[in-house]
């Protein structure tokens, strides 16, 4: 490694960033592929079926088969679609979820490297900014299809996404009042030192609102109205086939994985675990501790993903008016009240 130490900081920074991006991207894609497998296995267990069991032990190679199938299917472009947007929309669906992964601290330190791609001071604002761009993929998919059902599906789901973004943003404001920082790494450090320091216990209302909002934001049941088959023949993705359809599908799972990572970071203590001193950042020599932190983070994140899958097979779908009512009339006032109460409590504490 001597040649490496001779490099100036800029190339070193570039190399480490490239490595981290590569690592995060491949882990994210792996989780996306296997979340589909877990989804099918969990649904099968809940419905007393077997699930995929043909390819590999326990059907473990099923994601490969799915991918090959998606690539080999005919990529049919209907004649009446708006071509440019038809091509753009599936890509735009995938991009925001991958971009959000850049600010999530997925570990403490490995050697001297902080385990986050971009340690932004405005981490959470960046996250919300990018998440709000996710609407474009769905709106454009509905618009590009140039036919009624996808269009209605696109309009409907963009209304849903915009509505729940507000509730999600407001719920997190209370968290940041408490932490006093927008940097996600410092949010994690704030939660070190005991289970009661985790924000889930300090801000249960914010946790519940955020939890419901991420279900709505990722189009998961009980809020998967954008793809309500009975009403919209499938919603915004009706006209898509083959790999383009698969991109929408993968986009949903990537969103889920990233939402779960946000959840773990904001409410479940990130990479910290208040057992055996694991809630302090690893020292430069402690590679093992650093790896353990990454494992803890992944475990928390996968637990949230598992819970989201579980909920899908347990709950019926909300009606559209119920969804809007819940978002606008219940959660937004509740989140606002939570902000005011949090601010008041913090003010009283600061005064005493």
């Amino acid at each position: 490694m001597t040649w490496f130490d001779h490099l100036s900081p800029l190339p070193q920074f570039l190399i480490f960033s490239a490595l981290k991006i590569l690592g995060v991207f491949s882990v994210l894609m792996f989780i996306v592929a296997y979340a589909v497998w877990v989804e099918r296995k969990v649904s099968a267990a809940i419905q007393d079926r077997l699930g995929p069991n043909r390819f590999g032990p326990f059907g473990l190679l099923q994601p490969i088969a799915d991918a090959v199938k998606s690539f080999l299917k005919e990529d049919f472009t209907p004649a009446h679609v708006r071509k440019v947007y038809y091509w753009l929309a599936p890509a735009i669906v995938m991009i925001p979820s991958i971009l959000v992964a850049a600010v999530i601290p997925f570990g403490s330190y490995l050697g001297r490297q902080k385990m986050v791609i971009a340690d932004l001071d405005v981490g959470i604002l960046y996250t919300f900014g990018i998440v709000s761009l996710g609407v474009y993929g769905i709106v454009l998919a509905g618009y590009a299809a140039n036919s009624k059902y996808p269009f209605l599906g696109g309009i409907r789901s963009s209304a849903q996404l915009i509505s729940y973004e507000i509730a999600m943003g407001l719920s997190v404001v209370a968290v940041f009042l408490l932490v006093g920082d927008l940097n996600l790494s410092r949010v994690v450090l704030f939660q070190s030192g005991g289970f009661t320091h985790w924000i889930i216990f300090k801000q249960p209302v914010a946790f519940v609102i955020f939890l419901v909002a991420i279900f709505a934001e990722t189009n998961r049941t009980p809020f998967d109205l954008p793809e309500a088959e009975q009403e919209l023949a499938g919603g915004y993705n009706v006209e898509y086939s083959s790999m383009k359809f698969a991109l929408f599908f993968m986009g949903e799972y990537a969103n889920m994985a990233v939402a779960a990572a946000m959840m773990a970071t904001l409410f479940l203590g990130g990479w910290t675990l208040p057992i055996a001193g694991l809630d302090q950042p690893a020292a430069p020599g402690q590679i093992g501790v650093g790896l353990l932190h990454i494992a803890i983070f992944l475990a928390k994140m996968l637990w949230v993903v598992f819970m989201m899958i579980w909920v899908r097979w347990m709950w019926p779908r909300f009606r559209y008016d119920q969804l809007m009512d819940l978002g606008w009339r219940r959660f937004i006032p509740l989140a606002l009240a939570n902000i005011v109460v949090t601010a008041a409590v913090l003010w009283m504490r600061a005064g005493s």
Binding site: D121, V122, L125, Y126, S132, I155
Partner: protein
């Protein structure tokens, strides 16, 4: 926050020294890229030679806003950059798209340029050009080698709630009035 900013600035400095011997620092190259993108997309919003589709215009407006956010990042105004994306690209233009899609687009595509619109456009372009030249002539170019803006979240929040409290409150009340107005207008029967 101070510590972060310090580190960021330090990083910019060394990379500048590193590359200045050969050519421009990378932030300068990025500035030209983002500035060109902003201008190009801005032109394509209003005068796209390939399509008169309002949705295309709105999408180019998104790109314009995104490249402006890039310019803010180069000025180290991270907060403004994030807000730019969050508010404009993420909310305002989505609502634009919403309205455009629900309107009759074909009528809009056939519409000719009106004289009134042309005069209005020329007047506003002229006014902005005048402001631009006034600003350029009154400030010495290249005097400040490292342009930075007050960009930290804490600094910005403190300024908003102390020095600029009154304008801040007035804007809030204005927004509240607009919100109440929208609710009132969208009610079907006013009783």
């Amino acid at each position: 926050m101070e510590e972060e900013g310090g580190r960021g600035r330090g990083a910019g400095k060394f990379s500048g020294q590193n590359l200045k011997q050969r050519n421009m620092p990378p932030t300068d190259i990025l500035f030209y890229v983002f500035a060109a993108l902003t201008l190009l997309c801005g032109v394509l919003v209003v005068a796209n030679p390939f399509s008169r589709n309002p949705v295309t215009s709105a999408m180019f407006l998104v790109l314009t806003v995104a490249s402006m956010a890039g310019l803010f990042v180069l000025l180290r105004a991270f907060f403004l950059a994030a807000i730019q994306i969050l508010v404009y690209a993420g909310a305002v233009i989505v609502l634009f798209l919403f309205v455009i899609m629900l309107l009759d687009l074909r009528a809009e595509e056939r519409r000719k340029v009106k004289r009134f619109g042309l005069v209005g456009a020329l007047l506003s372009v002229g006014a902005i050009t005048a402001i631009f030249f006034k600003c350029l002539s009154s400030s010495a170019l290249g005097a400040d080698p490292s342009p930075t803006m007050e960009g930290g979240t804490i600094a910005l929040g403190k300024l908003l709630f102390t020095r600029y409290l009154l304008p801040f409150e007035i804007v809030s009340v204005l927004l509240l009035v607009a919100m109440v107005g929208v609710v009132l207008l969208s009610k079907k029967d006013l009783k």
